[in-house]
Symmetry: C2
Subunit: 327 residues, 2 copies
């Protein structure tokens, strides 16, 4: 099985590649080669699988054709620019997040002109496809009313993925990832950054700022779950999806207060004491418009599994990023 | 007020242009000029308004820029290829129905580089954005799960219209038209053709084929209502729309049996006797997946008004197409 990963240099992409090389198989089939692409050259995978590293911008003419020229059986398309950047740079957002995906779909469709070609395409969508009005728990049939250009671009790609799949041009599965926590690495300026920061920094003995009230409730999955979702989507029996190829992934609904309680249980009061409350009305207003929880019944019935407690999410961070122990 | 109508040669486009020239105003503002565009040159409007006729394909480079070069205050974008053709010719459907609309939106956005420009754009979407599973009555927050490429293209354009409006590039209103009945002209091969045919042909003393059961229920508005919807959308206070710029139009839910009863009341048993039942399982299956009725509460609250009986729809056809009387 030949695999192409687009967006292989990102946080989730790198963890996915590590999981692929470690397992050597996907859904019981042996992996014969890996092509790893991103706008910057992805790091070489560990292990012994034959691999190709590609630095390329999917939104440029000819790139998609080149990436699929060896007809990969399985394609993970994770490449996107994030919400804040897509809002700040309108043209870049549409070019990367919409045109890039459409060029990939078109390259796949045109590739079957001479010989049938219908690869599995696993696409990462986002809960940003949902906007006001939002119920407390978002069901699987909730309408898409995105309130950002990023969410609009993801919603459009979902529609394209379903239509190209319905027409038999690709075998697509779109997965809407929860907010990933605990994100490894340095603090960033994303409005959602504090959800990870108030866990990650205290575990590293550093102070973390909390800009919102402890009653704020949001929807989470660990990086480990994100990778598991991608691998499960890669091996899914898509005949069970019908015409609707996109799924809200299961996750954990938790308030900031519940996050902090979990931190206390896992790392003690010294860690909790490192959280400093500095209310930021701008961040509070942005976050107030975000989804709080999903039903995710379809995905759960299809075998996708997320976390059931924030303690578990914190322990996964300690195991996967901190060598299994906190100082 | 300068007005541009794209798709001016179509059935609804011609009726819209006739209404504009007759009124000479839109929302109380005098019309100063009309630009009428379509892939074939539209017929000249009646009346004395200054006008320009353009034969052009919106999906070709530079056409959108040219069409808006005199900065129309109000743009009606009705141009599209229909459902059957978009399904038969995948590339043409995406080129005309998606790329054409996106090129128009981009031309408008880029036109404001030097001087602010944010015209009202009235876009005709379709109830084809809705697909399985469908409730008996579709509410204003029902999800979009189109089952055709045409419906996918319209759903994508709705998302673009909302995002470009939210960003302040255009002042968009998208209206999802019910199935238009009674369509004037000759029978066509559209799966929906019989809904009009079983009224139009008998009124003209000709036989009409009915391929489905009389219990089939669908959602209708007259051509006169379609024009009234467009004009109402052109003058709407869009601050009342919020972030959701697209509306399901009000209509009349009626079964085929109710259509036939109305025909009997308006034109007598001789007309009804001209309907010949020739069941067509293919058409029956297509139609079974179509919407039956809408709530359309938002549109009604915003002042959009449709018909309340099929008798009314038939009388409008007699008044507008048959000179007010049947033979």
């Amino acid at each position: 099985m030949k695999i192409l990963v687009i967006g292989a240099a990102g946080m989730v992409g790198r963890k996915l590649v590590a999981a692929l090389t470690e397992a050597g198989t996907v859904g019981g089939q042996a992996i014969s080669s890996l092509t790893l692409a991103d706008v910057i050259a992805p790091p070489p995978p560990g292990g012994t699988l034959p691999h190709t590293l590609v630095a390329a911008d999917l939104s440029l003419p000819g790139v998609a054709e080149e990436l699929i020229s060896d007809r990969p059986d399985l394609i993970f398309h994770l490449a996107a620019i994030v919400s804040g950047e897509a809002e700040a740079d309108f043209e870049k957002g549409y070019r990367i997040n919409l045109d890039g995906t459409r060029l990939l779909l078109e390259a796949i469709r045109r590739n079957s002109a001479d010989e049938p070609y219908c690869p599995r395409l696993v696409f990462t969508s986002s809960i940003a496809v949902f906007g006001e009005p939002l119920p407390a728990v978002i069901g699987d049939t909730h309408q898409h009313t995105p309130l950002t250009s990023y969410g609009t671009q993801k919603a459009i790609c979902e529609l394209l993925l379903s239509d190209y799949s319905r027409r038999g041009f690709v075998d697509g599965v779109g997965i809407r990832l929860p907010t990933i926590a605990v994100r490894p690495g340095k603090p960033n300026k994303a409005a959602s950054g504090f959800f990870s920061g108030i866990i990650r920094e205290p575990l590293a003995g550093q102070e973390a700022l909390l800009p919102v009230d402890e009653t704020v409730r949001h929807w989470f999955a660990s990086p480990r779950s994100a990778v598991r979702f991608l691998l499960h989507a890669a091996a899914l029996d898509t005949s069970r999806l019908g015409a609707q190829r996109n799924l809200s992934m299961p996750g954990l609904a938790a308030t900031v207060g519940e996050e902090i309680e979990a931190l206390g249980r896992v790392a003690g009061p010294k860690a909790v004491a490192l959280i400093r409350r500095v209310p930021d009305p701008v961040v509070a207003k942005i976050v107030a418009g975000w989804p709080q929880a999903f039903d995710a019944q379809r995905a759960r019935e299809l075998g996708f599994v997320g976390e059931t407690s924030f303690d578990e999410i914190i322990r996964i961070h300690i195991e996967d990023e901190l060598g299994g122990a906190i100082s």
